[in-house]
């Protein structure tokens, strides 16, 4: 564990103690095995307890963890033979959105996702996972390709939001997202979307009008970042923890609200603790969903997708 989050410090303390005991035991030849086991069990129990009761603001930290697996990590761990397909054909290859053909369990999929970096250099390349309109248009081009050749679509979402910039506005950030929402509703192939880290606002939704929408256990999905919400409604960005509570951003909340269909469990300590285990769970959920969706006729698939989003919202009929 190279980056320690605040709330993980007690675990690190116990681990240090265990290491000390081990060393002491080695140096002195004393039999401390039962104490060591005791501490190890304590650490494990504490960790389980901690991770089962994470506050939304703590989940934010895990979802944004620098070492959290990114889109390309998942592609490598879930797929074979990934062929990246670049560009929007209008002059740009936005690196924040990456997509291409790959095989999953031997069958082709179009996998598209938002890529973040783990280092500053990488983050500059991927623009911190904030796509430009051209990224959404590249995604749309790939959606249409998949539609044409009857290849199911998988999208992985991890973004603090679509990029707010001058060129982004001039080239239609809003309409690029809007067009994706509309066009995804028309696609004739199954679509599975997973929020893997940050699912912030329209920038996330722009790849998430899917037949099945899933979330990793510690990911978050919201209409606005808790910081943005706090600075507008509380007039104080430091109230983000309160905003995170109020916005109901966790996978459990969103499952209850019917916004997502499935929560994908993460290994103890979060996805960054075990990339492979996380990717295996995701892959199993994707394959299961695709298997179910493939049974539907095109008409039923589209109809169900429409009705799924049609039913969202809470109001009173007077």
């Amino acid at each position: 564990m190279s980056i320690v989050l605040d709330f993980e410090k007690p675990i690190v303390e116990i681990q240090k103690k265990i290491d000390e005991l081990k060393k002491m035991s080695e140096d002195s030849g004393m039999d401390l095995e039962s104490q060591i086991k005791d501490f190890e069990k304590q650490a494990q129990d504490y960790k389980k307890e901690l991770y089962s009761k994470l506050k939304p603001s703590q989940k934010l930290q895990i979802a944004r963890h620098q070492e959290r697996p990114k889109f390309l990590d998942f592609v490598e761990l879930m797929c074979e033979d990934f062929i990246e397909l670049h560009g929007d054909r209008e002059g740009t290859d936005d690196r924040a959105i990456i997509g291409g053909l790959a095989k999953m369990d031997g069958k082709p999929v179009m996998i598209i996702g938002i890529q973040k970096g783990k280092t500053t250099k990488e983050n500059l390349e991927y623009n911190f996972g904030m796509p430009q309109p051209q990224g959404y248009r590249k995604a749309l081009r790939l959606f249409k390709h998949a539609d044409k050749f009857n290849i199911p679509i998988v999208t992985l979402i991890d973004t603090p939001g679509a990029y707010p910039g001058i060129k982004a506005e001039e080239t239609g950030q809003g309409s690029a997202i809007a067009v994706n929402l509309r066009e995804m509703s028309k696609l004739t192939v199954p679509i599975v979307a997973i929020i893997t880290g940050e699912g912030c606002s329209g920038g996330a939704l722009g790849l998430a009008v899917a037949d099945r929408v899933m979330m990793l256990e510690h990911a978050y999905y919201t209409v606005i970042s808790p910081e943005g919400c706090a600075s507008i409604l509380w007039r104080d960005a430091s109230m983000f923890a309160e905003a995170a509570e109020a916005l109901k951003i966790t996978s459990k909340d969103l499952l209850e609200l019917g916004i997502i269909d499935e929560e994908i469990p993460e290994p103890l300590g979060g996805a960054h603790a075990d990339y492979k285990a996380t990717a295996d769970s995701m892959k199993a959920s994707i394959l299961k969903a695709l298997k179910e969706l493939k049974k539907l006729s095109v008409k039923d698939l589209k109809e169900q997708r429409y009705e799924k989003f049609r039913a969202m919202g809470r109001f009173i009929e007077g």
Binding site: P164, Q173, S175, A178, S201, L257, E317
Partner: protein, 288 residues
């Protein structure tokens, strides 16, 4: 300072004042005179109303509410409101410095409206049309479940009746107090546009001051034809958010209707007085 810079600076100050101007209107609403926030002229209220709430001296377009918009746009007495029975609730029990329930109550008291959109059927110079007209005065025109539902129902009605659809937008974006439920209204309304699209039904956007965020990124920019009212500010991200992100000053006309026209994001920028005629012409040329 060059003359150009002086003009830019002056214009910038005027635009910044606009944010505060609407409050000015309300404060003076009881009075007979209204001060134009753009050119500072004193205008007789009745004269301003007669002129469609456009300053007769400098052509500044004051923001107008949904009811005024309906009265200006549709043939007299032709507008029939629908789905008025769809009412807001507080699904998340959202409380910030004030509870959402309280904010809804206040918005109702302030505007007399039940939500930030009025939907219905009307006629524009004889052309029958389905329409959704947003009202910025009701919680910044934000889109929660009710706005999404009413807009979607209206589009489904347009589809069933094979009528063209018009959306007049004026909104700060999504309704934060409904969080993901609000976000999903973007998907819901855009899927409904998808059905209009597939059925070959004409859908027109009229973007008015201001149109931002979740509206721009959903049904607000999906029209077959996009008209922006002169002077309206339209964008995805807010000016302040962009300035904070890129740490540089933005051009003074950034995100105005005219700026978007220059960058190919809207089909037409229209003065308020020409809107009816323009809409009627478009409907006519599509044979609807």
């Amino acid at each position: 300072m060059t003359i150009q810079e002086w003009f830019d600076k002056r214009k910038q100050a005027q635009i910044e004042r606009r944010a505060k101007d609407m409050k000015g209107i309300e404060d003076n609403a009881a009075g007979l005179w209204i001060k134009c926030v753009h050119c500072d002229s004193q205008i007789l209220k009745s004269e301003l109303e007669e002129n469609l709430m456009v300053c007769p001296h400098c052509d500044y377009h004051f923001r107008i509410n949904a009811r005024t918009r309906i009265s200006q746009l549709f043939d007299e007495g032709s507008f029939e409101e629908l789905f008025k029975n769809v009412l807001p609730t507080d699904p998340l029990n959202f409380v910030d410095t004030e509870s959402y329930a309280e904010r809804l109550k206040k918005a109702h008291e302030k505007t007399g409206l039940d939500e930030a959109v009025i939907t219905g059927l009307g006629k524009i110079e004889g052309h029958k049309i389905a329409a959704a007209i947003m009202d910025f005065d009701y919680m910044g025109g934000s889109m929660g479940s009710v706005v999404g539902e009413k807009v979607t129902r209206m589009m489904e009605k347009a589809l069933a009746l094979k009528l063209p659809m018009l959306a007049v937008t004026s909104s700060g974006g999504a309704r934060m107090q409904e969080s993901a439920l609000s976000l999903m209204q973007m998907a819901k309304t855009s899927c409904a546009v998808g059905r209009l699209d597939e059925a070959g039904i004409l859908y027109i956007n009229l973007l008015t001051e201001p149109t931002f965020g979740g509206i721009t990124a959903s049904f607000g920019t999906l029209g077959d034809i996009i008209i922006a009212e002169q002077g309206a500010r339209i964008g995805f991200a807010g000016r302040r958010v962009i300035e904070q992100t890129i740490r540089q000053k933005l051009p003074s006309d950034f995100q105005t209707a005219e700026y978007l026209l220059k960058y190919g994001q809207v089909d037409i920028v229209s003065k308020r007085k020409n809107l009816r005629k323009t809409l009627a012409n478009i409907l006519d040329m599509h044979g609807v």
